[in-house]
């Protein structure tokens, strides 16, 4: 066991866990965040994605000992009363069926829009290509990212 101080969505949290514990379990079980999901544990599907210093990271394969930067999860973007433009856009486009992959889609889209505020559809597809969606909401997700980009521009 070792003590870690995590900076998550603007606040500081202390946890005592084994250094090799994947960040995902700390976020879900110690911090009780529902956003990041266990999908594969192999960095293959993207459901567990969070941002570390603004970059998308697969939290299921990220040991606590390697986490140095500021973490942002989907909870940090906004809540139902005060939605982030991406959350608003995903809801407006009804961009899911089951929604289990949605956390990763939103977080990677946030990183994309930070470095490329006006992406083409092709750039969005490329940025999200490492994320799996089984219900096949891909086209809606691309539309949602475009909608959010427009709103964030204005």
């Amino acid at each position: 066991m070792a003590n870690f101080t995590l900076r998550v969505s603007g606040s500081s949290r202390e946890v005592a866990v084994d250094p090799d514990t994947p960040l995902l379990y700390v976020l879900r079980n110690d911090l009780e965040l529902n956003g990041p999901k266990f999908g594969c544990g192999l960095a293959q599907c993207g459901a567990c994605t969070v941002l570390v210093d603004g970059r998308p990271v697969r939290s299921c394969v990220t040991p606590m000992s390697t986490v140095k930067g500021a973490i942002e999860t989907i909870e940090g973007l906004g809540n139902e009363e005060s939605l982030h433009p991406l959350q608003k856009a995903f809801i407006a486009e009804q961009a899911c069926q089951c929604g289990y992959c949605g956390n990763g889609m939103v977080m990677s889209a946030k990183a994309l829009l930070a470095r490329n505020p006006r992406p083409t559809n092709e750039e969005i597809r490329k940025a999200l290509n490492g994320h799996l969606c089984r219900c096949a909401s891909h086209n809606r997700i691309v539309r949602a990212v475009q909608r959010a980009a427009k709103e964030m521009q204005s």
Partner: protein, 727 residues
């Protein structure tokens, strides 16, 4: 339970008597609409409270298909209330009606119809009280307020919903609908994009521990030895469970459970035996060679010219996985001999039945409550993991257990969609019309769901020291069918023969994957239509219309062709049509593909679908289902097959089971042919079969190569191209 069919088999004069009266000689109750027929009390379906809310209880569960919102739309319209007043309660054996499985694209048809008639009757009852109070029949309801003076919330106490539905209440005319027919935003979505507690994975109970499994390495493996003690000493371990071939751990923390699982797996010694069938092309010969006798499902003879030309073709479909993005998960807790389970099962009552059979307890002592999981697309590991969690929870001293499968367990142990062989034969007369048609299908079962009277179909039941088996399954009977779903063509052919070889034993467990046999059968049927059209020298759309009388079928075929800009000369386009189950929605798909001749890679560039679901409740929900089904089918069709050798399943992760990705997903357009005056028809499984055929037919159109073996991997396409002269 003795089915009506068994009575008919019994034969004799008693048949009529028994079909009209039950065994006590009482007249059978009148048939009520939808699921009201099996859950007949009004208060089973709704409750109106003084606080200005309406609660709707449904046995159908939300699995991301939007059923909660669609049912709320129906209820709001029949009751004349705003949707925000409606609270939905899904699938809980303590509080909701028993509507069996949420399957077969039946939820709007059965539950929606029940909610519609129950709410219409409740409204009539409220208005009857209001009429007396106000001394007028001239009543107008606005959001539950009657003539601006009385309201439902104060009158609720004066009506008694604890009575059997009459089934004679008059639902609203479509022109009076305020909510039905509109794309109301789904209620389940906001929490899914804000980190709300949306899934069974998000349940956290006081004292909860985490469970993980050690499954056998292969379906035929037997546990020889395992050192449980060494694992019990690991940090955080609360329990190590061994019962026959069932092995599991529970720990205080999730990562500790995962480490304990790995340690237990390392020291477990198994004896493995090769129990699996051959794979690849040999599988299909093996299925046919088993010699399971054919059942004749249809033998229709009519008058027609003799065939001038005959064609035959064999199509195959491999074992395919549901591949939920989130592995199956459940939470279970035992308290004083009573079991509580939170589950994403599609049927909480059937699951409860199986758990009772495994544990030997009364169903009254088990409560199963639905909580959403990741999309399941049929019978995945949801029920199995509920038993797993309950088995582990017996060893945790009353502490609740949350157990989620690892990715490899999901891929190795979910019940697959069955491999299938479809042999088709057809005859054309001199004018190029189909005069004879034969469809012969070989398949394992497509439904091994919980809910049998004895035993259990849950996976771990068979692993136990005292294994609990299940009776051999039968096929889902026609007209909806299972292995033979959609094997009977909807076209008007004078002579039709449909044969089924139902291979009950399957060493690889199979059960319901979205569409059951419909995907394989429609792929074959609609591919063969194109093969015959080509032989007749007729455009595929024209050829379909020539053989189709049903006006609703013709309408979707024409609408899809029109939206696609279909022309007989267009290369690279393909068409497919089916009415799902021959009972559900009508759906046509046109797809355009590009084939890279050097790599063999097929890209779907564009897809168009037209669909008739009867009365449309939520147009965006319909589009979402048709589009999602179409793209999922493109993934099945181009990429997916479970791999295995004679002993082990080799598919363990997404690396071995690639699915369609963003850069491969085509734009999809959906045209809805709304029929406001027609009954609801389920939509969730409408597009998969037609999409597969459309892609196969488009490849043939683009290259001249006919692909008959799913999936159309680059390797297969290249092999087919090499046998076809460059066009």
């Amino acid at each position: 339970m003795t089915s009506r069919r068994d009575f008919l088999k019994a034969g004799g004069a008693l048949v009529l008597f028994f079909s009209l009266e039950n065994s006590l000689g009482q007249t059978a109750p009148a048939r009520l609409p939808g699921s009201l027929n099996t859950n007949r009390m009004l208060n089973a379906w709704l409750r109106i409270d003084a606080d200005g809310t309406v609660t709707i209880y449904t046995g159908k569960i939300e699995l991301g298909q939007g059923i909660g919102t669609a049912l709320a739309q129906i209820a709001a319209d029949e009751l004349d209330v705003e949707m925000k007043r409606i609270r939905m309660v899904h699938g809980d054996t303590a509080v909701t009606p028993n509507e069996g499985q949420t399957a077969g694209s039946l939820s709007v048809e059965t539950s929606g119809t029940a909610v519609r008639f129950a709410c219409a009757e409740a409204r009539e009852m409220l208005l009857a009280v209001a009429a007396t109070r106000l001394g007028t029949q001239d009543l107008k309801v606005v959001d539950g307020t009657i003539n601006g003076t009385l309201d439902y919330w104060t009158l609720a106490g004066e009506i008694d919903l604890k009575k059997e539905a009459s089934g004679t209440a008059k639902p609203k005319a479509p022109s009076e609908h305020k909510w039905v027919g509109k794309s109301i935003a789904r209620h389940d979505i906001p929490k899914k994009f804000t980190g709300g507690a949306a899934y069974v994975q998000d349940i956290r109970l006081p004292g909860m521990v985490f469970g993980r499994l050690v499954r056998p390495p292969s379906p035929g493996a037997q546990l020889v030895s395992v050192n449980e003690e060494s694992v019990r000493k690991l940090p955080g371990v609360v329990a190590v469970v061994r019962d026959g071939n069932f092995l599991a751990v529970a720990a205080e923390r999730e990562e500790q459970a995962i480490k304990a699982r790995a340690a237990l797996a390392r020291n477990a010694v198994w004896k493995e035996t090769p129990t699996l069938p051959p794979s690849g092309a040999a599988l299909y010969d093996h299925m046919v060679a088993q010699g399971v006798p054919a059942q004749t499902m249809l033998d229709k003879t009519g008058t027609a010219e003799a065939a001038a030309r005959s064609l035959e073709a064999r199509y195959t479909r491999p074992f395919q996985a549901h591949g939920s993005i989130g592995p199956s998960c459940a939470v279970a807790q035992w308290t004083d001999g009573k079991l509580r389970v939170w589950t994403h099962s599609q049927g909480v009552y059937p699951l409860r039945n199986d758990l009772a059979n495994v544990f030997g307890v009364d169903v009254k002592d088990i409560r199963c409550t639905h909580a959403e999981g990741a999309g399941c697309y049929g019978h995945n590991g949801a029920d199995d993991v509920a038993l797993d969690a309950a088995l582990v929870a017996r060893a945790t001293g009353g502490r609740p257990v949350k157990l989620q499968w690892m990715r490899e367990e999901e891929f190795m142990w979910e019940p697959y969609g069955s491999a299938m062989v479809m042999k088709l034969a057809g005859g054309l007369d001199a004018q190029g019309n189909i005069v004879s048609w034969t469809h012969e299908v070989w398949s394992h079962p497509h439904s091994r769901r919980p809910g049998q009277s004895k035993g259990s179909h849950t996976l771990a039941a068979r692993f136990l020291d005292k294994p609990v088996g299940a009776a051999p399954v039968g096929d889902v009977p026609l007209p909806s069918g299972g292995a033979d779903r959609n094997s009977i063509p909807g076209y008007d052919f004078p002579n039709v023969k449909v044969l089924k070889h139902f291979i009950v034993d399957s060493p690889l467990r199979t059960s319901a994957l979205r569409t059951l046999g419909g995907y394989g059968n429609v792929f074959a049927l609609e591919s063969f239509m194109d093969e015959l059209a080509a032989a007749a020298g007729v455009d595929p759309v024209e050829f379909r219309l020539r053989h189709m009388k049903d006006p609703r079928a013709r309408a979707v075929i024409e609408a899809a062709a029109k939206r696609a800009g279909w022309t007989p000369a267009a290369r690279g386009w393909g068409f497919g049509y089916a009415r799902y189950k021959n009972l559900g929605c009508y759906c046509a798909v046109a797809a355009e593909v590009a084939v890279d001749r050097s790599s063999g890679k097929v890209t779907v560039n564009r897809a168009v679908s037209a669909v008739d679901v009867g009365q449309t409740v939520n147009p965006d929900g319909v589009v979402n289902q048709i589009e999602g089904g179409l793209i999922q089918s493109a993934s099945w069709t181009l990429k997916e097959a479970v791999s295995y050798d004679r002993t082990r399943v080799k598919t363990r992760s997404w690396a071995e089971y690639p699915i369609l990705r963003f850069e491969e997903v085509p734009p999809v357009e959906v045209v809805i042919l709304n029929q406001p005056d027609q009954p609801f028809l389920g939509v969730g499984e409408g597009s998969q079969g037609p999409a597969a055929a459309a892609i196969a037919n488009a490849i043939a159109s683009a290259t001249g190569a006919r692909l008959r073996d799913l999936p159309f991997t680059p390797q297969r396409v290249k092999a087919a191209l090499s046998q076809t002269k460059a066009m």
